[in-house]
């Protein structure tokens, strides 16, 4: 079919390549008689894989695996290189699966050859003729095998052509569990998988080398930097993943941010997010670092549209839209918009629909975020009709069409439902989401199924998880039943709540649910609380019930200054402290929690301390929380704690609470 000058294999020898009668062979440059053949002839049907390798340096090459050997053909002439690839791929596909019917002249094959493909985890490994055309993977069950096994049955489904849009690949994995390997192929590397929305494809080839080639080919496509909307990684509904991520983020965090899409975020933050979203659009999620993050993400979205080569509103459609922009709003006008927008390429249409729907939602919150339809239109019009590239080229440096652009945007946002033919279902589901958002704000209580860690003997020692709804007693039983439990099973145990870096400890009554502690921490915004399973060293015996009254040193929350007070329990319902016969402060029993211990930093005057913390939201502070009561004698503290526990309604009167 033709001869081209080429370099061949390791020796880099110049010779003539010839492709004739479905055979590829190489001859000396000046002599192409049959007996001087350097390499070949190779039958096209023996080709196992053909891959175009584009290297940035110098020339690109075509890699062909034939039979057991591999040959690299490097072309010097670039234009012919593409046609060689096309001719070889076409020839190979024609022979192998009569794919010619779907072949088009504008196809650009990156790689083609035989592979083993498994569709889904439960699928069957099948030998396929596969090719990648631009960003689409095409495969079809190989007829060569069908001819052997299915000669009689003219199975229609065997001829089914499958197209996989590689832009929508979510993840690609190299290390696949051996149980998933293809039984017909034996090599060390094993297959790799690509996961799309809802399905995983396993791909393998004849040997390590060819599988690697396939992996690299797909990988390079995924990592290809994109300049037009169509070449970005897409979501299932044809929206660039990066756009989808930004819109989701703003929907979640920015609906109530004042000046969203108008104010700019931190430039560095926006840059980082852009870089990360470009590197790994599927895997990376922007994180709410501060209140400013949402503005940065909004910037990322706006600049994204400026950076692509073709604006979201394609240039060819703009004049028609500008005509409509001058009309006044009416249902009929919106229908004309619908017709015009239908002409957009699919990715542009889907992205526009998503974006306008989002802007509409944003503008519905205009009272809070002050992003009115007009403001949003002004900000976005300049990004969606014009790109940086166009501005640099000097086109539309300043254009009369600004007003038209803004009008188009206003029309699209207000007429969104009609223009994009939003169905009642979509409208309903949006309503449900809105309602759910409102609800979630009210329902702050975590589910009772939430799991919390119980530490054993000391912090970070073999913690195990329990459901928050368990009572302290049940937790103890679980701990003892755990495998590897290293304490005597019949000795007394309890669950203790530890806060303030573990310095304040409270024994949970057996019927006390773990969730009560956790909820209290949430209320207090206490971040270092943990639950400890430990020996219940000092059990309450009920003998010593003489109530302590007398002088005790007390420090106020956050303070290190201790003063002497007379503390007593009054009427069994409140605790009062007197100074010089005058009432200083009084606390209802139900509003306070008692903890044993004190923070060393507080330098309490006596050795035996306990802390009284109010269970209200502001009762806790990260530094020296609660009132610290400092006792001279251990017995005094015990009597005091026994008494307050006894009178405290929160606990079961039969149960002791003192722990030292």
């Amino acid at each position: 079919m033709g001869a081209v000058t080429l370099k061949s294999t390791k020796k880099e020898k110049r010779c003539n390549g010839r492709f004739r009668n479905m055979q590829l062979s190489f001859f000396n440059e000046d002599d192409d008689s049959e007996d001087t053949c350097l390499l070949g002839p190779f039958d096209v049907k023996d080709f196992y894989m053909i891959r175009k390798i584009e290297s940035s340096s110098e020339s690109s090459s075509i890699l062909i695996h034939v039979g057991e050997k591999r040959h690299v053909i490097s072309f010097i002439e670039e234009p012919l290189f593409t046609s060689w690839m096309f001719i070889l791929a076409e020839a190979w596909l024609t022979i192998n699966c009569k794919l010619t019917a779907v072949l088009k002249n504008d196809h650009e094959f990156g790689i083609c050859g035989s592979t083993w493909i498994k569709y889904g985890t439960t699928g069957e490994w099948k030998c396929c003729a596969t090719a990648i055309n631009k960003m689409t993977l095409i495969y079809m069950l190989s007829e060569s095998r069908d001819r052997v096994f299915k000669r009689n049955s003219q199975d229609e489904s065997a001829d089914e052509l499958v197209e996989v849009d590689l832009r929508k690949v979510m993840t690609m994995r190299e290390r696949i569990d051996k149980s998933e390997w293809c039984p017909s192929v034996k090599h060390k590397r094993g297959p790799f998988s690509i996961t799309l929305h809802g399905v995983t494809l396993y791909i393998d080839s004849r040997d390590d080398a060819t599988t690697t080639q396939w992996y690299e080919a797909i990988d390079s496509i995924l990592k290809q930097p994109a300049k037009i909307l169509e070449n970005f990684r897409l979501t299932g509904d044809n929206i660039p993943v990066i756009v989808d991520k930004c819109i989701r983020f703003v929907s979640a965090y920015g609906m109530k941010s004042e000046g969203i899409y108008r104010r700019n975020g931190k430039v560095t933050e926006a840059k980082t997010i852009t870089t990360k979203l470009t590197e790994d659009p599927v895997g990376y999620y922007p994180v709410q670092e501060s209140d400013e993050t949402v503005y940065a993400v909004a910037d990322v979205l706006r600049t994204f549209f400026r950076k692509v080569e073709i604006p979201l509103f394609p240039l060819s459609n703009q004049p028609e839209l500008f005509k409509l922009a001058q009309e006044s709003q009416s249902l009929d006008l919106f229908k004309q918009y619908a017709v015009e927008i239908k002409k957009f390429p699919i990715v542009h249409f889907a992205t526009l629909k998503k974006l306008i729907g989002h802007l509409r939602n944003v503008s519905e919150h205009a009272l809070e975020n002050r992003a009115s339809v007009e403001n949003l239109s002004k900000v976005f019009a300049a990004s969606l009709f014009v790109t940086d590239q166009m501005t640099e080229d000097g086109k539309q440096v300043f254009s009369e069409s600004y007003n038209h652009q803004i009008n188009v945007m206003i029309h699209l946002i207000t007429g969104y439902d009609t223009i994009f033919q939003i169905s009642i279902e979509e409208e309903l589901s949006r309503q449900i989401v809105n309602d759910a958002e409102k609800k979630s704000l009210n329902a702050k209580k975590p589910s009772p199924d939430l799991i919390v860690a119980i530490h054993v003997w000391e912090k970070e020692n073999r913690p195990f998880n329990v459901k928050m709804s368990l009572a302290s007693e049940e937790v103890c039983r679980e701990a003892i039943a755990k495998r590897g439990f290293d304490g005597p099973p019949d000795s007394p145990y309890a669950v203790f709540e530890c806060i303030a870096d573990g310095h304040l400890v409270r024994r949970l009554p057996p019927s006390h649910k773990v969730s009560r502690c956790v909820m209290q921490w949430i209320d207090w915004n206490c971040k270092d609380g943990f639950l400890l399973f430990d020996h219940d060293k000092l059990r309450f015996d009920g003998k010593d019930m003489s109530v302590f009254t007398g002088k005790v040193k007390v420090a106020e929350p956050g303070s290190k200054t201790f003063k002497s007070y007379e503390a007593k329990i009054e009427n069994g319902t409140s605790i009062s402290a007197y100074r010089n016969e005058k009432l200083w402060k009084s606390w209802p029993m139900d509003d306070i929690l008692w903890y044993v211990g004190s923070e060393p930093g507080r330098k309490s005057p006596n050795a035996f301390n306990c802390a009284m913390i109010l269970n209200s939201k502001d009762g806790y502070s990260s530094k020296f929380p609660g009132f610290c009561f400092s006792f001279k004698e251990e017995a005094d503290r015990n009597r005091w704690l026994t008494a307050v526990t006894h009178f405290s309604k929160n606990s079961d009167p039969d149960e002791p609470l003192v722990y030292i």
Partner: protein, 206 residues
């Protein structure tokens, strides 16, 4: 202020542009000056033209103020902001660090377009009524003004007098640069008692 002079006098046309980061209050300043009102709305500007007659230094001026777009999508120098602009107000907000940082690059752009570093520019720190949220110190503003060889003023668009003074100051700079006014000291404006116009400290009204 814009008195209709009793004796017939022709007015001088002067064009100035107000530039700066989004959301610093460019439109507010312009509207305070031209219409003596503080807009309580929240709208993105693309470009607005305002005119006001102003009398200063015993002359009538026909001041045309271009309110520009802060949004980066819109080109920094719109068509109507062409070479006949005589002076600039470069605005930042004292509660917005970014808006201040961006000032120097806008300044560079102005200079590169006009090719004349002596073009009258006044750097304006706006929103000084929000003192509690201040993140850009006055000294930093002065420092920037020194680097740009510009004047520096801190104002709030909520107050009329100061805003008018800013525009008067700009006019004076323009007239001085055109040789229509002899350099300082000038008695026309009350607060300008400075003897050295290049010392930005003397221009601080805050």
């Amino acid at each position: 202020m814009s008195s209709t002079a009793t004796q017939p006098r022709y007015s001088l046309n002067r064009k100035v542009a107000v530039m700066g980061y989004p959301h610093v209050g460019k439109s507010s300043i312009v509207q305070r000056f031209t219409q003596n009102m503080f807009p309580d709305r929240y709208e993105t500007t693309i470009e607005d033209q305002h005119t006001k007659h102003h009398t200063a230094f015993h002359r009538d001026f026909n001041l045309r103020v271009t309110d520009t777009a802060g949004q980066q999508e819109y080109t920094v120098f719109p068509r109507s902001c062409s070479l006949d602009v005589a002076g600039f107000l470069l605005v930042y907000a004292i509660d917005d660090r970014k808006s201040f940082d961006i000032c120097s690059s806008i300044y560079e752009k102005i200079i590169s377009v006009y090719g004349d570093p002596s073009i009258p520019i006044i750097i304006v720190g706006n929103k000084c009524d929000l003192g509690t949220q201040r993140v850009v110190q006055q000294e930093e503003g002065k420092e920037l003004a020194k680097q740009c060889e510009a004047k520096f003023v801190e104002i709030t668009a909520r107050e009329t007098n100061r805003v008018n003074e800013v525009f008067e100051l700009l006019l004076r700079e323009i007239e001085i640069s055109r040789g229509n006014l002899r350099g300082p000291p000038q008695q026309q404006t009350k607060e300008q008692t400075s003897s050295d116009p290049n010392d930005p400290k003397n221009c601080v009204i805050s």
